[in-house]
Amino acid sequence: MSPTTERITLAKAINLGMRRALEQDPKVMLMGEDIGKLGGVFRVTDGLQKDFGPDRVVDTPLAESGIVGTAIGLALRGYRPVCEIQFDGFIFPAFDQITTQLAKMHYRSRGRLQLPVVIRVPFGGGIGAVEHHSESPEVLFAHTAGLRVVSPATPGDAFTMIQEAIASPDPVLFFEPKGRYWDKAEVDLDAVGGGLDKARVARRGNDLTLVAHGPTVTTALKAAEAAAADGTSIEVIDLRSISPLDTATVAESVRRTGRCVVVHEAPVLYGTGGEVAARITEECFFHLEAPVLRVGGFHAPYPVARLEHEYLPSLDRVLDAVDRTLAV
């Protein structure tokens, strides 16, 4: 069979991945607010209710706690529900269900109960939205043992990772970079994923390792491009998984480059960058030429639309951190 590739957006890639899962496993169900007839606020579920019916692509009332809670109940009886949360900020009514039940049932039941639930969350900023609509709460979930927390950065990864997430026996928080929903790339529609918890080297380099995930992978690649013009060779690592964290791939890179900068939209305080920095320090202290720097959101609520580009880790701020790291 010859490989089929198609040039599609990241949103479409998730849509096709879910379509594939719905076709292959009758136990897969989608649930969420306005995901059926409307196709979701970002149209990620577009056309799926039409083709799979309202019993498998379920329009729910406005009730996040109820959506996730019933998904847990479904999963306990053999279904593989995929819940859509409309925006990052609306997941909190379901936070209780996610952290007290979803994350813990497998552990509590000593492995007898599995919860293959996927919760899809459009996250991140850059689309001119405001608080509740632009936030990056991924570490709030990564901090809870029992949850997998992943984020695709490319259409190709979006296509395979959503299928791997649905197939996973563990609950997966699937953070979709909403600012990149409309980014297009050639996607191999025969591809199978290479593992949900593997980081990916997005660009090879020797002088410094830039670590990113989700929306900031593109920013990191742009920074690497700009630095290359100045003769600096930057390696870019796309984490793909926030929890578990693929420390080995990052450490291998940092042992070669000796320098590391972590970039994410989420606030820096107690964030992914802090975790990466700590692990790098533990694993490759003697290879480090400079402290690991973090570039990310500030310790302030997500600002108004006009100031969001000051808040988000811009190309300039990433390059500034790169310069400072190299200057040591």
């Binding site: 100031l307 000051e310 808040y311 701020r317 500034d320 951190a321």
Partner: protein, 365 residues
């Protein structure tokens, strides 16, 4: 920044007016809200307004009837669909438009935006972007009033879809259990985004949900400001006697959920029907029939509304954007040790010094 204009507090007891004056005053306010919202939609299209923008188009009668029933000291909590409530509560169109424009002379200094209008002077305790977010808070405000034996009431506005979230049910139970002076208002416009009431509520007669909490409730024609006003007065009297009330106002959302929603889930016929049955035109026709509204008055009222809206746009346009330096302001009420207030462009922390640079030079101002 110069002292911001405050919202004038209306006198405690306004001079008694004739029914006709009141009917006309309702019309005047409805037209102002209509024109303001149409202008807001334009401002959004012109990229003057950022974020999200939900309009009260079609719901003017509900907004006006409710707000007219309140005393100046009463508290209002609203959803993100809050522009009309702010205007009808007496906040100047200038300060509301400036807030939509995200400017420093807006009611929330430009930091709240369309969804989070807020003005303590007008006792508008906020629009809320999280569906149902306002409901427990309003209940708490009513508890505060009850606790200190105050005479005020709280009006908590929300949409139909909001009655499906847990916070709604928790709040109704608490309010009833604790005899709180609060009126929960469900503005039933038939839709939560693209989802119908029938498609999302097991009891689509939403006012009946109160009975689960032994709470009195009523449904009223939300397209008739006089009826809404009378029902709201009854509900508020009930609330002031220490018994919460649920009032359902049945109304319509003329356009999409927010300015960017083309409302593709409505058929062309439905859209045409909506416009044909528009509450504002119907109310105008009713007043004209009763000779309360003349052609001259209609024109004058419309021109006055347009002038007020134009002035609000000029005011908003002339107002400054929040400075980047205010990014960290008000995060905490007190000084926080070790708080990073590093602004974009300032050196990273805890970055190593550049060669030749001392650490103190890098410290944020």
């Amino acid at each position: 920044m110069s002292a911001r204009p405050k919202t004038p507090r209306p006198p405690k007891s306004a001079a008694p007016c004739k029914d006709e004056d009141i009917a006309l005053a309702f019309y005047r306010q409805m037209v102002l809200i209509r024109r303001f919202e149409e202008r807001a939609a334009r401002g959004y299209a012109e990229a003057k307004i950022g974020g999200y923008c939900h309009l009260n188009l079609g719901e003017e009668a509900t907004v006006v009837g409710l707000m007219a029933a309140l005393q100046p000291d009463d508290y209002v909590y609203a959803s993100y669909r809050d522009h009309g409530y702010a205007l009808a509560r007496g906040i100047s169109p200038e300060r509301v438009m400036a807030e939509l424009y995200g400017r420093t002379d807006g009611v929330s200094k430009g930091w709240g935006g369309s969804m989070h209008l807020f003005d303590v002077d007008a006792r508008l305790m906020g629009g809320y972007g999280i569906v149902g977010g306002q409901v427990p808070l309003a209940t708490g405000a009513a508890l505060a009033v009850a606790h200190r034996g105050g005479a005020e009431a709280v009006l908590c506005q929300m949409g139909d879809g909001t009655t499906n979230i847990g916070a709604f049910h928790e709040s109704l139970n608490l309010a009833s259990l604790w005899d709180l002076p609060i009126v929960f208002v469900v503005s039933n416009n038939g839709l939560g985004m693209g989802t119908t009431v029938e498609g999302s509520s097991a009891e689509p007669d939403l006012f009946k949900r109160a009975s689960a909490y032994r709470m009195a409730s009523e449904r009223v024609d939300g397209n008739d400001p006089v009826a809404v006003h009378a029902a709201a007065l009854r509900a508020l009297t009930h609330a002031r006697s220490g018994k919460p009330f649920l009032l359902e106002t049945v109304t319509e959302r003329l356009k999409g959920h927010s300015v960017v929603d083309p409302a593709g889930y409505r058929t062309r016929e439905q859209k045409a029907q909506l416009l044909a049955g528009d509450a504002l035109s119907a109310y105008a026709a009713r007043l004209t029939e009763r000779a309360i509204l003349t052609d001259d008055a209609t024109r004058e009222i419309d021109e006055a509304a347009m002038a007020a809206v134009d002035a609000s746009v000029r005011f908003a346009d002339a107002s400054a954007h929040p400075a980047t330096s205010t990014l960290f302001d008000y995060t905490y009420a007190t000084a926080v040790p070790n708080d990073s207030r590093r602004l974009p462009g300032q050196p990273l922390f805890p970055a190593a010094a550049r060669p030749g640079e001392t650490m103190s030079e890098k410290a944020p101002a």
